[in-house]
């Protein structure tokens, strides 16, 4: 029977990692939504809907 693997990080470090990951994920989400809007607008311009 194998022993459960121990995390190399302390509780404080794990909390810091999660905090940084959450901040990066939020930013990535905002960037992706922004790009979706931009690509939609570029498509509308390219197909000539706005002349």
């Amino acid at each position: 029977m194998t022993q459960p693997e121990q995390s190399p990080y302390t509780v404080e470090e794990t909390a810091l990692i999660r905090k940084r990951q959450a901040a990066r994920s939020r930013l990535m989400g905002v960037a992706l939504v922004g790009l979706c809007i931009l690509f939609f607008l570029i498509t509308i311009v390219k197909v000539g809907v706005w002349g």
Partner: protein, 301 residues
Amino acid sequence: MTTAARDILMPAEWRDFWALTKPRVMSLVVFTALCGLLAAPGNIHPIIAFTAVLCIALGAGACGSLNQWYEADVDAKMARTAQRPLPAGRMDREAALHFGVGLAAFSVGIMGVAVNWLSAGLLAFSIFFYSIVYTIWLKPNTPQNIVIGGAAGAFPPVIGWAAVTGDVTFLPFLLFAIIFLWTPPHFWALALFMKTDYGAAGIPMLPNVKGQRVTRNQIFGYSFPMGGAAILPFILGDSGWLYGATSMLLSGVFLILAFRVWQNEATDAAAMKPEKQLFAFSILYLFLLFALFAIDRMVIA
């Protein structure tokens, strides 16, 4: 496991990725590109114009990231750059490389698809020129590094122009020439009072290799063709009096400050007030020159 080794395994903060793009340099790049775009004849849809400027900004960010990826060891030796994400150990080099390559590919691809392939080609070439020709080849090998390398920073107004017109004529090359000739006096003024730093990192800046007298001669020497290039759009009839008068005035002030640098014999950074004044004014000079050129061209249009 040491603390340092565990720190490297920590995921970098988004602020570190932002710092990797050299936001201050990016702001100047975005500004000159926007001026090139506004000064160009013809029309461009605001959405496409925004996309073009965004791609140029992302391309500049790619250059900053790749530069910091390659120069992490050099940056660690200079007080000015030691706190950047890589030398400070807040990010691993692979992340910086992936971020830079990703930004470069994304910016060029979107520029090509959404704007036009000439501007995308120019953007790709400027990223290649800055990252490979300047950062890897010229900067560590020749004291003339920033003379030729300055071309990379001179591309943005040409790319902005090409985004509107789809071609490149003589006038955007004049804008290119202004930044190209402005770069040596701008950077060498900084290198004079930051000499100790560059010397410690083994970067062959002109003051370290040829001495301060040669550097001051070259700063003053470059100010003449730079001023000439700045006034040329007015002489050729491509701008109005607003730009013509202001470019003459600003170039005159630049020449006077460069003359004071040429006269100065100080070797101690604390006594290099003319060099610090020229460096500070050179940034204002380029901002005003390009802003007034764009405004003038828009008024004429």
